[in-house]
Every structure is written in C-alpha cells, then in structure tokens.
C-alpha cells in the first residue's frame, strides 16, 4: 500500500460528496485576451476590502497621491492597507455603498485620477537575498488579501509557522461564467509560478499542489510549461464539478483529507491560496507593485463584448459594464460574483474590490427570476448534491422551526453556502437564504447569551463584594462595641475621678514596663536577623555550586571554593552584577529595535539577526516589550540580592 504522499505524487485524485454540473458558460470570455480599460473618472476605494480590520487613514481630502501610494497603514496584523490605483487627487473620504451583500455604506476614499498614472518610487526585492520577514512585510504592505473571494490577509497565511505538508494553489475556478483566473493563467503563468516560489520559500511545504479544473486545458498547459523546472510542483487537473473550488472540497479532492469541523486547513498541514493571490504576491515582491488592479470577468447576455478586464480596484461597476457594451434591460439584476455564490447589486456605483472576480449582467431569460417557492417534497435531491454531506431538507425544517439545538445537531455551521442544494431544489426553495438567516439568528443569540453571562457574572461579583464589605464593617463594629462594653463593665460603678486616676496609673505602669519589653523585642529582632543571614549564606553556597566552573574561574579566579562564606558572598555579588548587566543589555536591545521600527523608512530592511529574534511590531508594542523585559530583569536582580 503506497503512502498518501506517494499516491498524491502518482497523481491520484479523490472525490467529494455531491456536487452539481451547472452550465459553465465560460467560453464567451475565456478565449479572449484580458482587456485593459481606460481610467475611470472616479475610483471608490473602500478602506476595508478583506477579512480583518481596516488600516488607519493616511491621506486627507484634496491631497495628491501617486500610483501605488498607501492610503491606509497596516498598523495591525489583521490589517492590510489600500493603495491609490493611479495618481490623482483625493476628492472625498466618506461613506459609499459597499461591495457586500448587505450593501451597507462603508468608509471609502474617492480618488479623482489626474490621468498621469505617475508611480511612487518602487523598491523591487530579490527573492534570493531577502529574508522571510521582509517578504511577509512586503506582502502585508502591498495590501494582498485572498483574491478567490474570502479576502483573508495573505501575509497571515504565508506567515504560518506550523509545519506545512502541502501548499495548495487553487486554480479550480468552478463557478459558472467566471474565467478571470483562467485568463490570468493563460497570460501570466510565469509570474504566477514566481509567486508560488515565494510562497514555497515562506512555507517550505513538502509539495505544492495546483488544482485546476479540466475545462481549462490552455491555462493548465501554460502552468505546466511554467512549472517544468520545479520538482515538487504538481499540477492536477480535477474533473469539472461545482463546488470543487471550495477550500475543503479541493483539499479532499487532492489529498483525501478532511479539515475537521471548526478547525483550519493548517491544522492538518495544508495551506491554500488562490492563483490570483500568488500572482499578486509575485508582483508585490518582485516589482514592488501593490495590489492596484485585478482581472474581473465581465459577462452576461446584456453585454455586447463580454470579456475579462484588468480593472483598477475602486472602478465603479457601471464603468466596467459600459466598457463591455452594456445594454440595460428592465427587471434585470447585476450580480457581483458568479451565479452560484454572488450577490445582486442595489446600484452600479459599487466599486470593484480586491475580492471581486466577476460582474454578471444576465438577461432576464438567461437567469430567470425565482419562481414561486413551493412546499418541500422531501425528495432530498439537495442531500444528494451537498458537498458537506448535510441533510438540507432537515436543516430547512429546523430553520423554519427556529430550533437552534437541532440545527446544531444537523451541523448547520458546516454549510459552506455553495448553493448546490437550492440549485437542484424542484420546489425552488431558497435554501441557502434560510440557512443564512438561521446562522445569523444563532450568532445573535450566542452574542446575547455571552453578554447576559458576563452581566450576570459582574452582578454576582458586585453583590459578593458588597456583602463582604458589609460583613467586615459589621465585624469591626461588633468588636469595637464589645471592647467598649468590656471597658465599661470593668470599671463598673467607680466614679470619673477614680477612672482618671486608674488610667494615669496604668499609663505609668506601662511606661515602666516598656524598657524591658523593648529590650526583649530588640533581642528578638536581632535573632531573626541572624537567622536570615544564616539562610542567605546557605543559599549563596548553593548558588556557587550552581554556577558553571569556568565562569567561576574566569570571574573569581583568586577565590578558593573551600571558603564557603566569603566565596558565596562573592558569587552572589557576581551573579547580581551579571543579572543587572543582562537586564541592561536586553533593555537596550529592545529600545534599539523600537527605535529602528520608529525611524524605519519603507525601503529600510531590518537586519536579519535582530528581525528573526524579534518579530516586527509597532513601536509602541516594542517599547512596552522592552519595559516588561527591564522590569523582569530587575525583578530577577532583586531576587538575587535578597
């Protein structure tokens, strides 16, 4: 029985459950060259186009920016910046309809191109001489987020430190109509392979698997030619089936492995990136060209010239459509993404973002509107096609019944929303929509539950604190009251004068007794001090024994070890001095790094030795780290001296 790796090497492919074969309709765009459109009048650049957090704004209205200039900064590991796709003036910074199913307005920078297309200074890197950290930094600074659709920051995947068995490059592009990756592979296979080289250097996988659907023979051949010199790169033509481009499905197809529920591919030694991301990484590293544009398939029967277009990030959809000869019909829809997982746009000023791979403007006859949803007849055609082996009709039932326990039991959250179930449903039930609503409901409930739990904990803690305070107060009062009572009882019936006399007498007696007592206390203190000294001496001896002989010889050559007291004291002193020195050195180093981080210019490269030891962080973090290190060193030094 050959091992899994041998089977993979031999070109074995596996299969995943279900899947559908919708008409692909890719021919109308896949065979044409990638079109380059003229500069649009306005670019709307949302500051967050990926999964994660937005960077901090670096520009203000009215400012002129150069092509490739960052508009936001990546001041957080979950942030990637956005860049000016061309030179021009920042016309506005404000809310704009988002390229998201919700179409909620989000912060976007409006750029008015000046037509000069003037680049900022570029600093290409040499892959052979650049260390990993600088590569990762460059990837992050170039604003690269997964271009297959999810938009996960690429530097986080490329910077994974767990061991990687397989780096899978996703070139499947299984969704109907879309041929952007296909076109990119046909025209840019060499650059893509350079990008894969960079990823391979960063992740050091056992093998690189490139999955591509077998309906793209030209792209596959181009990639094979480009990879011919690479030993561990395997190009696998997978059968055309939707959704074989899903991350989990492709992993199963190529390696027979399943990502355990709730885990990530890296947990089974796999990292997957999209082919477009590899291309963007190559451009960013080797040409210092940040992610400014991407290939978008513009297709549908309302267009006279459907084609793939190299569109600048921020290009409004309407400009793209017009470039391709858009003829608007009534009662139609425009879809961002493909027909299976894309979303309809409320208006056409929505911009192209880093994850937009397709604009689909179908005629009404091409993708007819939904008919009437009718009752589920439990035919379970949906279960037959579900790539996650779920039971969609059961999920529908429990979604309608709003039964979160049952939905969990039937693994609602393993649904990848590929739409295969709704595609085959004879009753035209929008199953995916039901699941989205159910998931959102459950997430909301969980958030509420967590909040309620926290509030309850806070409330209980506060109650406990108040109760404790109260009891403490009561105990103190009681004690005082008892003492007073006692005093009153002792002095029973005597009059005030007698009382006063007695008090004076008592005071005098106390003062007489004091010297004796003081002496006693002093003696005791002295004894304790002696005890402490003894203990310290004993400990010092131990330390001397713990210190390595050569150190001892080097630093205290004249001290014979057979004098325990003196030797111990000296050794302790030496250890203290060393600790202090180490602390100082550590603090200085940290401070240096912090300084370097603060003063670093974009082209400055952190020296490798330092950088490897101390991952890049923002200056403030470095300063804090340095402070912590100092404090720790001090503590260590202090503990040595006591």
């Amino acid at each position: 029985m050959p091992s899994l790796f041998q089977q993979i090497q031999a070109g074995k492919l596996w299969d995943f459950h279900g899947g559908i074969h919708p008409p692909t309709r890719k021919a109308q765009t896949a065979q044409k060259p990638i079109g380059v459109m003229p500069l649009p009048d306005r670019l709307y650049i949302p500051i967050r186009q990926h999964i994660g957090v937005a960077g901090t704004l670096l520009v203000s209205t009215g400012q002129r920016v150069l092509k490739g200039q960052p508009l936001t900064s990546a001041d957080n590991s979950m942030a990637v910046p956005v860049h000016a796709p061309t030179s021009g003036i920042i016309a506005a910074i404000g809310e704009h309809t988002s390229a998201h199913p919700s179409a909620l307005p989000e912060l976007a920078i409006t750029l008015s191109p000046d037509g000069l297309d003037e680049w900022r200074v570029q600093y290409p890197l040499n892959l052979a001489t650049t260390d990993k950290l600088s590569l990762l930094e460059r990837i992050q600074e170039s604003g690269i987020a997964g271009m297959g659709g999810a938009g996960f920051p690429a530097h986080l995947k490329a910077g994974l430190t767990q061991p990687v068995d397989y780096l899978i490059i996703n070139a499947v592009e299984c969704e109907p109509y879309i041929s952007a990756d296909d076109a990119l592979m046909q025209e840019g296979a060499i650059t893509i392979v350079k990008g894969i080289d960079i990823l391979a250097k960063l992740l050091n996988p056992k093998a690189v698997l490139i999955g591509i659907e077998d309906d793209k023979p030209i792209a596959s051949a181009a990639l094979k030619a480009a990879c011919s010199q690479r030993e561990h790169y395997y190009i696998r033509d997978v059968p055309t089936k939707y959704p074989s481009g899903g991350e989990k499905q492709l992993i199963q197809l190529l390696t027979a492995k399943e990502v355990p529920a709730g885990r990530r591919p890296i947990d089974i030694g796999i990292v997957m990136l999209n082919i477009g991301t590899a291309f963007a990484i190559a451009q960013a590293v080797l040409d210092d060209q940040p992610l400014l544009s991407r290939v978008v398939t513009v297709t549908g029967e309302t267009l006279r010239q459907p084609q793939n277009v190299l569109a600048l990030i921020g290009t409004p959809v309407i400009d793209l459509l017009n470039f391709c000869g858009y003829q608007r019909q009534t009662a139609e829809k425009v879809i961002m993404g493909g027909p299976m997982m894309g979303f309809t746009l409320p208006d056409l000023t929505v911009p192209i973002i880093k994850t937009t791979n397709c604009i689909l403007a179908p005629s009404v006859a091409e993708l007819p509107a939904d008919g009437n949803e009718t009752d589920c007849i439990r035919c379970s055609a949906c279960a037959d096609v579900c790539p996650a082996s779920l039971l969609p009709q059961q999920l529908l039932w429990y979604s309608k019944a709003k039964d979160p326990a049952k939905l969990d039991e039937y693994n609602l959250f393993d649904c990848i929303e590929c739409g295969a179930c709704a595609y085959v449903c004879p009753s035209e039930i929008p199953l995916v929509q039901y699941y989205r609503v159910a998931k959102a409901d459950i997430r909301e409930q969980q958030r509420e539950a967590v909040k309620a739990e926290q509030a309850k904990a806070r409330f209980e803690a506060r109650n406990a604190r108040l109760e404790w305070d109260k009891q403490q107060r009561m105990a103190r009062n009681q004690k005082l009251a008892q003492a007073r009572e006692q005093a009153q009882q002792n002095n029973g019936s005597s009059n005030a004068v007698a009382d006063a006399l007695a008090r004076i007498k008592a005071k005098q007696a106390e003062q007489q007794a004091l010297p004796a007592e003081r002496e006693h206390i002093l003696a005791e203190r002295e004894a304790k001090k002696q005890q402490a000294r003894d203990y310290q001496a004993a400990k010092a001896t131990e330390t001397v024994q713990a210190i390595k002989p050569e150190q001892l010889v080097a630093e205290t050559p004249s001290e014979p070890i057979d004098k325990p007291d003196k030797g111990a004291a000296v050794a302790a002193a030496v250890a203290r001095a060393k600790a202090r020195k180490a602390a100082q050195a550590a603090a200085d180093q940290q401070a240096q790094i912090a300084d370097a981080e603060q003063t670093k210019q974009p082209e400055a490269i952190v020296p490798e030795t330092v950088a490897v030891e101390h991952p890049p962080a923002d200056p403030r973090k470095a300063a804090i780290a340095a402070a912590i290190a100092r404090a720790k060193a001090k503590k260590q030094a202090d503990s040595e001296t006591t």
Binding site: G342, D375, S427
Partner: protein
C-alpha cells in the same frame, strides 16, 4: 436605478416539482394501458373518477386554507395520488368506493397533515387500506384477465359496471368474476393462498387457469409494464435506484430463502416479483419522496423493510397482497430510520467515534 435583489444562487436546474409529479404519472401509462387491455376498461373509468375527485378535493381545501388554487393543482401531486389509487383498486369496483378513497387520501391523509410535503403516510396507500378494511368485499372483486372472462366488456360496459355494478347486458360483477367453469376466480396470489390453506401443493395450485406463465395470466404483463415505466423514471433520474432495488431485493431474498427451504408450499421468487402490485409498489409507491426515507442508507433500510413486510403479509397475513400495509408500516418507521442513518458530515467523525 433600481435592480432586482435576490439571494444566491441565481440559477436553478429546470426541473420542478410539478414536472416530477407529471413524469411519474406519465410513466404509469404503459402499466395502465396493459391493465386496461388485459383486465378491462374499468381502470379508465376509475382513473376518470379518481382524478376529478382529487382535483375537486384539493381545490376545496385550498379555498378553505385561503391559498391560490391553480398553482397548487398545477403541482400535479393530487393528480398522482388519484392515479395511484385508481390503478390499485379492482377495475369494476363501484364508483363511490374510489370517490371515498380519493377524498380520504387528499383531505385527511394529505391536507389535514399540512398539505404537500407534510404527510406522514402515502395518501394513496392509506386510502387503499381504509377502503380495504371498510369495504373488503368490493375491494377484492378482481376480475380475472379478459381472456378468462366469460363476457367481454366494452368501454361502455365498463361505465355501466362501475356505476351500477351491472354490465350493459345485465351481468353482475360476481357473475363476471365467475369463470367459464363456474368457479369464482381470484387473483393468482389469492388463489395460491386459498389453495395452500386447503392443503394443496403449489404445483397443484399452479394448474389453475389464472396461471399462465410464471406469474398468472395478465399479471406478468402488468408488472412488466410498470417495470418498464419505473426504469424510465430511473433513467430520467426522477427516482433514485435505492428504494426500488431494496424493495425488490428484500422481497426476492425472503421469497428465495423460503422457496429453497420448501418449494412446494412457497411461491417462487419470480412469481413474487411479477405478481400482485410488486412492481407498482417498488417503482411508483414506495418511491413517493414525501413519505419515504430521505437519507441514502435510510432508503435502503426503508425499501428492504417494505419488501420484507410484503413477503410476510403475503405468506402469513390475512390479505392476498401486502403492498399497502407494508408501505404504511414503513412510513411509520421513517422518522426513526432517518434519525439513525444520517450521513457523516464533512469534517466530523463517524457517529460511533463521537464522544
């Protein structure tokens, strides 16, 4: 500008519920044709009655439930229920029998449970069982095949017989049921049961004129016709292979074992498969998606269960054929079967390995 906002996916396969139902009805046509030719035109009259009653009942309930009538009728589910019931009952059963049955199927079994998709039981089979229990005499008046009937009935005779229980020339149904030799003739399965109970061997029983060939005169052809229709449905992917294969497999294995054990007192597997309502049950009745199991493994269990119960009822039960009872009993087990045959979800451990 306003654009249509819809949820993904935006494309769908073209086959709808209504088309599926209609295809099933169309696939019944070969069987119905053979039935009409070999057992008389009564079945056509029954179909007419059943379909019109089904539509009326469905429309009535839809009005009561304040839903649009026409789209619901167009899903053809009522039509299919009517057709299945009509071809299951004796061709010359009185008109009120099929009307009562259809009303029961549509109104009580289907609509009172919540309409299409929500009924626990197969409407046609539930109605069949109700009729069988309530009107045992009328429900067992199967005429022998046309070639054995003393009088040949024309289409007009069929109407007369169904509505008045007398043919136009004045023969009563029981007279028509009586063979040329003056002995009343039952279905092949019934004949075997009666003969075996009377102590005769199977070989003797098979001498009876109702048996020609391996499964009884006419019945073989009817079953072959339904088999052809069923294979067509399979080819068109209207039904899956699991349920029919499991029903036939279950029945075949049970009857094969008993036949091997005692060939004299047990009908051969081939007789079992091509007699009675076996093929109709396997391809058209057990495959009703609403009341069948919904998981792939569950469908096998469900089918085998039906095949097994059919065999048990045919061998030990009080009724000649057990299809309707078998289907209803299996329907009851569906929630349980479904629960225990859930497939392993991607990324999850097998159920046994869980926790």
């Amino acid at each position: 500008m306003s654009f249509k906002i819809t949820s993904s996916p935006h494309n769908r396969i073209s086959r709808s519920t209504s088309e599926i139902m209609l295809l099933v009805v169309l696939a019944c046509i070969p069987g119905i044709a053979v039935q009409a030719v070999l057992f008389g035109y009564g079945v056509l009259v029954q179909l007419l009655l059943a379909i019109s009653t089904a539509w009326l009942a469905e429309a009535l309930i839809m009005r009561l439930r304040a839903k649009k009538v026409l789209p619901r009728l167009k899903d053809h589910s009522a039509l299919l229920t009517g057709v299945l019931l009509a071809i299951s009952i004796p061709p010359y059963a009185p008109w009120w029998l099929i009307v009562i049955g259809t009303l029961f199927a549509i109104i009580i079994v289907k609509q009172l449970y919540g309409g299409l998709g929500n009924n626990l039981f197969n409407p046609a089979m539930a109605a069949y069982v109700v009729l069988l229990i309530s009107f045992p005499l009328q429900m067992t008046q199967w005429l022998p095949s046309v070639s054995l009937q003393p009088e040949s009935l024309h289409l007009l005779d069929a109407f007369c017989a169904v509505f008045s229980q007398y043919s136009c020339s004045g023969f009563s149904i029981s007279q028509l049921q009586t063979g040329i030799d003056g002995i009343s003739m039952a279905t092949p399965l019934d004949t075997i049961r009666t003969d075996l109970a009377a102590g005769r061997t199977l070989t003797e029983s098979l001498q009876s004129p109702v048996f020609y060939g391996i499964a009884g005169a006419g019945w073989l052809w009817v079953n072959l016709a339904y088999l052809a229709g069923g294979l067509l449905l399979l080819k068109l992917r209207v039904i899956g292979w699991r349920i029919p294969a499991a029903v036939l497999g279950g029945l075949f294995v049970c009857s094969l074992l008993s036949w091997l054990a005692a060939a004299d007192t047990n009908p051969s597997p081939m007789l079992q498969l091509f007699s009675g309502a076996t093929m109709l049950a396997a391809f058209f009745i057990a495959t009703d998606p609403v009341s069948a199991s919904t998981t792939n493994n569950g469908r096998i269990v469900y089918g085998v269960l039906i095949g097994f119960i059919i065999y048990i009822i045919r061998k030990y039960g009080g009724y000649p054929d057990g299809v309707a009872f078998a289907v209803l009993l299996a329907n009851m087990a569906v929630p349980l079967i479904d629960y225990y045959t859930r497939p392993r979800t991607y990324g999850h451990k097998a159920k046994g390995a869980e926790k």
